[in-house]
Each structure stands twice: as structure tokens, then as C-alpha cells.
């Protein structure tokens, strides 16, 4: 098993930390992982993306140009990464703020209204975990116990009281994801 993922959106949406939790969960399940961010001036409001690879085998290149899954959280990222999904791959996006929906017919497309759900429930800080839940529903790569351990490892100890809220958000995400085609 090798899953090559790009997570892309605005800075401040928790794109990088979502990738980190995913990668750490992979480590906990004894997988090979890599986490490669776009870095630099991309602060809050700018674009941010991270490619995460989770594999049973040694990872050769952490830099990749085609993905099994693209998780897209704004229009710029849709424009940039829709065509980077491998044929037969999977595109997950939050329709909030999307003006041009994906057009490709050779990939699976899912929506997750994570932004609306987070606003309604006052869960803005775990928006990214709702999205992660949706991804894990579509691609159950990692067992929940290892996601729990991944959260423990990637959050500093003083935030461990927030783990149940994060896990609740992941479960919510699993119920919100919808297959478009």
C-alpha cells in the first residue's frame, strides 16, 4: 500500500497540522511516511499545501507531481491540483468558496461541507479534523487507535484535553462526506 496525498487550502485552515496528524498516525501504525510542506511566506490567508505519503515500503521521492488523493479547501488549490490527481484517484473538496467545481470524469469526486458544519457547531478549531474524518471514511488507511496515538504525538501535552473534541470532529466528518461521482 502506498497513498500519495496532497492537502491544499488557505494558511490558517490547519492544512499542515492535518497532514502532520495523518503522518504521525502512520508512524504509530509502523508505516513509512513523509510530510513535505510548501513553506515560506504562505501565512494566514495565503495558500498552503502539504504532500503526505503513507506507505508499507520505503519512500523514494517525497516530492511528487501526481496524487492518489487531493484534499482541496479553496479555489486556488482546485485550479492547481485537480489535474494532479492520478486517473482513478480521488478528489475531496469543501464546496464552501468554490466557484468552479471539478470537471474531470476519470476520478472519484467527494464533497465535505466541513466549513458549514464547523461554523454551525462552533467547532472552527477542528475544521481540519472534520475534513480528515471525511478522508478516512473514503480511504480507511489507518485504524482509529493509531489516529488517537497520532493526535497524542502531534499535539503538545497541554492540549491533550482537546483530543476528544478532535476525535468527535473526525467522526462527524465520516458522516458528512458525500460522493458526487
Amino acid at each position: 500500500m502506498t497513498e500519495e496525498i496532497i492537502i491544499a487550502g488557505f494558511g490558517g485552515q490547519g492544512v499542515l497540522s492535518m497532514g502532520k496528524i495523518l503522518a504521525y498516525s502512520g508512524v504509530m501504525e509502523n508505516k513509512e511516511v513523509s510530510w513535505m510542506p510548501s513553506y515560506g511566506p504562505e501565512m494566514r490567508g495565503g495558500t498552503a499545501n502539504v504532500s503526505v505519503i503513507i506507505s508499507d515500503e520505503r519512500i523514494s521521492s517525497p516530492v511528487i507531481n501526481a496524487f492518489d488523493t487531493a484534499i482541496v479547501l479553496n479555489q486556488q488549490s482546485m485550479d492547481k491540483f485537480e489535474n494532479a490527481v492520478k486517473p482513478g484517484g480521488c478528489l475531496i473538496y469543501d464546496p464552501n468558496g468554490i466557484t468552479r467545481h471539478p470537471e474531470r470524469k476519470d476520478i472519484k469526486v467527494y464533497t465535505i461541507a466541513a466549513n458549514d458544519a464547523a461554523n454551525e457547531m462552533g467547532l472552527n478549531k477542528v475544521f481540519n479534523m472534520i475534513v480528515l474524518g471525511g478522508f478516512l471514511k473514503v480511504k480507511p488507511l489507518l485504524q482509529p487507535e493509531f489516529i488517537h496515538k497520532g493526535l497524542e504525538k502531534s499535539l503538545p501535552a497541554r492540549h491533550h484535553n482537546l483530543i476528544p473534541e478532535n476525535e468527535k470532529a473526525i467522526e462527524l466528518g465520516k458522516t458528512l462526506i458525500k460522493e458526487v461521482r
Binding site: 510530510w35 513535505m36 523514494s60
Partner: protein, 358 residues
Amino acid sequence: MEELRLMKGNEAIAEAAIRAGCDGYFGYPITPQSEVMEYLMKERPENRTGMVVLQAESELAAINMVYGGACCGKRVMTSSSSPGFSLKQEGISYMAGAELPCLILNVVRGGPGLGTIQPAQSDYFQSTKGGGHGDYRLIVLAPSSVQEMADFVALAFDLAFKYRMPSLILSDGVIGQMMEKVVLPEQRPRFTEAEIRKNTPWATVGKTPDREHNIITSLDMDAASQERHVLHLQEKYNAVEENEVRFEEIQCEDAEYVFVAYGSCARICQKAVDLARAKGIKVGLLRPITLFPFPKKEIARLAERAKGFLSVEMSLGQMVEDVRLAVNGKTKVEFYGRVGGIIPNPDEVVKALETKLL
């Protein structure tokens, strides 16, 4: 005890420095390596091992603090990225002249000038041919994973002390910024004062009645004696070339074509090897781990039977010159590179192989 962590390359190097028994880090922040000092400041190694961490007022100050620490026989280091590394060249040349061991990390970004903060490998000439003035070399290690970022710290210190010369870890924005699994080395103690007196008798740690004053300088106005000194340095560099070549070969046994790549480009080429072999092209990868000393004998050996080499770099063709010297006209040597912070992807590397060599 061995400990498995998920870390950025920059963080791994910082933690490995503490564990290597480093006495002092002196740096000045610059993207994409600022996590090195950030990690050290957060970790407060003065409470763990007594290691000093200091943010200097400039790169010049940082490298000269390293000079001072090294004079006292301490394991000292600095880190920077390309523009900051250029600023440090004067101090590095002085340390080479004064035969001082230290560790320098350059997490390369695109140049020239301030260039970009994105990854590059365009400091190869500067790193391997002597970036400052005078006839000198650095031992240059090129990690291609977060694990090697951690592993090369103690190695670089040990080589620096073995040969009394600065060691450079030449990394890039990809290896510095990405996170991978890393098994951290065990903690080793810092040198004791007694060990410094015994193992580095040249160190300026205070005169004792049984010896003359130790003098550390890179200045010698007597031409004959300066020539002897430079020839002595050259003998050391020859010994380094004889003893310290390190490289990795991947699928070279039956290879008709050979990629030569280091650092993050070597990772990209590993994937390109898999992609090309799936198409039936017999290609392998030679990954220099030391850039000085360069694995020229191994390349010459492969050149006896390979149909061609492709040097893949994030530069406009720097290491390829060393590949050509090693191949010495026996077979074709081509180059593929991207610059300005663009990272070549495995598909375009395979395409370059097909168009330039097949």
C-alpha cells in the same frame, strides 16, 4: 536508548547536535533553516548537557564565535542558508587556514543574491571548491533523508576533529523542511576539560608548564613557511580523499545508464529509477554522500561499462563537472537541472534520460 520520532530535517539536526555532545551553537536566522535555532532555543540544551545556544547579531559574528569556540577545542557549530553561508565564507577560510574543526550546516535555497527561499543545490561549487579565498577544502556531507540529517552530525564533528578542518553538511530546503521518521542517536557526553587537553593539545585552553604557548592563526608572513603550511593542508585533503569517500549505489549492478544525484535530487532519482525500469530502461543511481571527497573512482569504474551518465541537480550544472572529470571522456555525460526553487519531478527526470541519452 533509540527513539523513533517524526521530525523535520532541521529539527533532527538540532536534536542530533545536542546528542552529539556539541558544546555550542551560534547562528543567525534565515529561511529555510530557522527551525534549527528555534528547536534549540525551545529545547534549552543548557539544562540537558550544558550546550550553549546563542543568536548572534549577524552571520559574521556567528562564524567568528565558532572560530573562538573551536580554538578552545570545543565542538561548535553554526547553520545558515545560502546568502548567510556566503557571509560566513571569510570566517570559514580563516578556520581552514588555522586548522580548526567545526560543523557548518547550509540548507541551500535558490540564488544568486537573495534569490528565493525555495530549495536549490546551486551552492555546490561554493561548498566543494572552497567558497572563501585560498587553497582549502571542506569535508562536505550531503544528507538525502531526515535520518541522515541526524546521523551526519556526529560523523561531521568526528571527521572535523580527525582532520582538524571544518565539516559542512550541505542540505537543501526539501530535506530541511520535510518530516520523516527518524531514529535519534544516543546521547554522548561533551568533551571534558581533561579530554580537550589530551585529545586536542593544540587548543588554546591556558598554558601549562610542560609546553610552549599554543598559537592559533591563519597568518604567516614568511613565504617559505606559508608554502609549507599550504602543502601540509593539501596533504590532509589528500588523506581525506583517500579515506573518507562515501556513496550509495542503487540498482547499479546491471545498469546501462546511471543517474548521479545527491540530497533531495537523489530521492527524486530513486523514484525515476523505478519509473524508468518499469519502462524497461536499465538505469541505476549513484548517490555521492560525500561531495568532497567526491566518489570519482567509483564513477570511473562505472564508466567502464555504462552507456551514459545523467547528473540531476537543482542547479544549472555544477556537480556534472566533477562527474565529467571522473568519467574522463570514456562515455557520455549529460545534465538535467531545475533552478529558482523549482524541484524536478521524477517524470521529467525520466524524460530527460530518454531525450538526452537513449
